[in-house]
Amino acid sequence: MKKIYFDIAATTPVDPKVATLMSHVMTQTFGNPSSIHKFGQESHSVIERARLQLANALYCEPGEIIFTGGGSESNNLVLQGILKSGDHIITSAYEHPAILNVVEALKVKGVEATLINPNKNGVVDCNDVISAIQSNTKLISIMAVNNELGTINPLAKLSEISVENNILFHTDAVQMFGKLPIDLSEIHIDFLSMSAHKLYGPKGVGALYIRQGNKLPAILHGGGQENDLRPGTENIPGIAGFGLAAQLATEKMVTNIKNILELEKRFLSALTEKDIEFTRHCNSHIPGLMNISFHHVQSKPLLMNLDMMGVAISAGSACTSGTLKASKVVLQLGVSEKLASESVRISLGKLHSNDDVDYIIQKITELIPRLQKTSEINV
């Protein structure tokens, strides 16, 4: 059976060039980067080269990057490091659980939080942020791109608001990094979280950008690695893979965006041609991420039936799947419960071809009439 993966927003396959490098590093560069000898020096260089690659991708200084175990860990370092009892954070209601659940845990410790709902276009409204500011607001944390909708938040404007009000600004950029340009020499962002596996790098590696001058306390304690913030012997092959993945994503960004947008257009116009009724949520998104409700077709049956045909998509985010309930994030857009329960996420990436898109179209066209029928029976 043909197997095609349309869940690029959940994770990506590792780019073969990245895999080759990682395999080489894993077998050849095994020294402890903290060791004085040549073995250690080689490993140390692998890490510093990767740091340089990330700094180049973000237009920042290598000293402003630390490597972590992933996006969640980067978020935790910032939120747990900055917010103390009595402090206030402004964040959005549709953040990834790697923010929302940290905020929940901090609330128990006396931190105040305001969660801003996205507007009907799936974007955080800057005026809502301004009105939420209190005298004890210490941090604004708004995701760069929403993982379910693909909508893009106004980072530049949010950064201005935080600077004007002397509040620190963090963004979870896991869904944006490697897909759209981020220029940290232009935008004043204090902290920015990233993850390697969303840009054809390995899982289990992330990074945190910490603007020069900002200080974070460690939340784990041990050796002095990564500026004392990430103790433990470094994941050298993972870091090497992340560095190369970031470099490739930056070099090929313009071409990738162009190709992915063409695939997206091919997909959407085919649906229209085949007279399939659907709603695409929100009108501005990162290339390739489509949150679509197929009318009168529940999301889970569609997902599972496509899966049995070898086609992988998602309903809600991968981290919350398992129950047949309407996506909370889509509901926040103010759409009906029915439409929200019909929403699926189809995400395209740089490795997809026209044939892949034609294949999923063929399968969707086959399935939808049957599923519309069974959904009538099951109401």
Binding site: P301, M304, N305, D307, M308, G322, L324, K325, L371, I377
Partner: protein
């Protein structure tokens, strides 16, 4: 011709794992599903506690077996349906002084009905489970037969399945013994080969149903207060701790002292009493049955057949007599502790021909 497809209910135990593997051996295309039915939550903290039902380990076991056999697996959330059809009925029956059999209801109303709907959504022909019973598909109808393993036979638990649903059911373990199932699982290296037998009610932790009832409906259970224990003549002989704490036929823990043992004979929620009796008074020569489900033509007037009034009981020849709205069952051998709420299941030799719910015999 394309392969027939089967939706296999996977509990994460050895039986359903082997059922899946046997169906694949026979050439079916299979999909594994685990039904999430219940979360055992601490009523105060709302934290999910361990119970026998849908543990992460069980779901992972099912997933590992499916992965080994190259089969898709999904976890489906049927918690609302389970609560409505099984747990609510379970609570209601206890409050009515009856002893329900939730597994029977779960099989028919949750497992079979819901799985078939799911099979339709997936475009799948059959459903299957790891029950020890056989299905015999004939031209116009399908029948349940007792499983080959007489100690394990679970046909009794399946009497309430809709006869039409049975037509789309495959039970691959009906022809083999539990020992064979384990042996097969081991020989195929299935990850669930050593899973322990599940015996208790899956949703009641530690089989403490009294604690469960108190947690699930504290307000109603507060009204269940101590009351009289009476003898058959109506004489008060002691005090009970709340009628939901007793079942018909219970001997231990009644809290009365007589030279000869006493058994719970009746539970009367109306006057909050329980009636106890000597063993010889615990036999009944008849009972009534409601909610009958027939796999054969229902008796028009009278039918002679064989019935079992509890899982694994010896059973008796009976005559089933149709009366107004109900059926009266006359036992040729008087039966001990006939318990309202439990199932009475009719067999012709190995063939299950119908079943119903036992109602009070007076």
């Amino acid at each position: 011709m394309s392969k027939k497809k089967v939706l296999v209910a996977m509990s994460g135990g050895v039986d359903s794992s082997v059922a899946l593997s046997l169906l694949l051996d026979e050439g079916y295309e299979c999909i594994g599903v685990t039904m999430k039915l219940w979360e055992n939550k601490d009523p105060i903290s709302n934290v999910v506690r361990n119970s026998n039902c849908n543990t992460v380990e069980a779901i992972n076991g099912a997933k590992l077996v499916c992965d080994r056999l190259g089969v898709h697996h999904y976890t489906l959330d049927f918690m609302d349906i389970f609560k409505k059809n099984v747990v609510d009925d379970f609570s209601k029956e206890y409050l009515a002084g009856r002893t329900p059999n939730p597994c029977v209801r779960c099989n028919s109303f949750v497992k079979w009905d819901t799985l078939l709907r799911q099979a339709d959504i997936f475009g799948i022909d059959y459903i299957s489970t790891g029950h020890y019973a056989c299905v015999q598909h004939e031209k116009d109808a399908s029948y349940l037969l007792k499983g080959a393993d007489t100690l394990k036979d679970q046909s009794y638990m399946l009497w309430q399945i809709n006869p039409d649903a049975l037509k789309r059911t495959l039970l691959p373990l009906g022809g083999i013994t539990k020992a064979k199932t384990r042996e097969y699982a081991k020989s195929r290296g299935l990850e669930t080969a050593q899973t322990p037998e599940s015996m208790d009610l899956c949703f009641v932790s530690g089989d403490d149903y009294s604690k469960f009832l108190n947690e699930i409906m504290p307000e109603k259970m507060n009204l269940v207060t101590p009351g009289d224990i009476k003898d058959e003549a109506g004489e008060v002989v002691g005090e009970h701790t709340g009628f939901t704490n007793y079942t018909i036929g219970q001997r231990k823990g009644i809290g009365v002292a007589f030279p000869e043992p006493r058994y719970v004979k009746r539970i009367n929620p109306m006057d909050n009493s329980i009636v106890i009796a000597r063993k010889d008074a615990m036999y009944a020569d008849h009972c009534y049955a409601s909610q009958l489900n027939w796999f054969v033509e229902p008796p028009i007037e009278e039918m002679a057949t064989f019935a079992q009034i509890r899982y694994n009981s010896k059973g008796s020849n009976v005559t089933v007599v149709k009366e107004e709205g109900n059926y009266r069952i006359n036992f040729s051998e008087p039966q001990l502790a006939v318990t309202p709420g439990q199932s009475i299941v009719f067999y012709e030799d190995n063939k299950l021909i119908g079943g119903g719910i036992i109602e009070v015999n007076s």
